[in-house]
């Protein structure tokens, strides 16, 4: 992902959600440019999930959910991710 996103992730301003999209954790620290970048990436992810879902006959949300699990598991320590209940937690 572009540096602005990586930095935001490292600073727990942005994190991976359980629905497969990027979420803004700390609204106050998110600049307009960062918000636009997050929106842009989420739209592109949705596009990717749609293609994956239709190729595999699963609902888009399902495809997104599975990807989310991988992304959350793969997130480096220090990054913040959503737990099953949707709470933001910092990876140990």
């Amino acid at each position: 992902a572009p540096p602005i996103i990586e930095e935001a992730k490292a600073a727990c301003v942005v994190g991976e959600r359980i629905d497969g999209y990027l979420g803004i954790i700390d609204e106050s620290a998110a600049s307009d440019t960062l918000r636009r970048e997050v929106r842009d990436i989420n739209q592109k992810r949705k596009d990717a999930y749609q293609q994956l879902a239709s190729a595999n006959g699963v609902p888009v949300a399902a495809a997104a959910k599975v990807t989310a699990e991988k992304l959350i598991n793969g997130a480096p320590s220090g990054h913040c991710v959503q737990d099953a209940s949707g709470q933001w937690v910092k990876k140990p």
């Binding site: 992902a1 992810r45 990717a48 994956l52 595999n56 609902p59 399902a62 599975v66 990807t67 992304l71």
Partner: protein, 44 residues
């Protein structure tokens, strides 16, 4: 043979039916998701 006259019982028969149309097992997606993530580094 005797015809048994079946009459509609006076009390309506109650039938409860749950039909759940399940999805395919999703295990298959694992590999595709790995490919998806690796082939789109700029959005994942």
């Amino acid at each position: 043979c005797a015809t048994v006259k079946v009459e509609a019982p006076d009390k309506p028969i109650e039938i409860n039916l749950n039909v759940k149309i399940e999805q395919e097992v999703r295990v298959k997606l694992d590999r595709e998701v790995e490919d998806l993530i690796s082939s789109n580094p700029d959005i994942f």
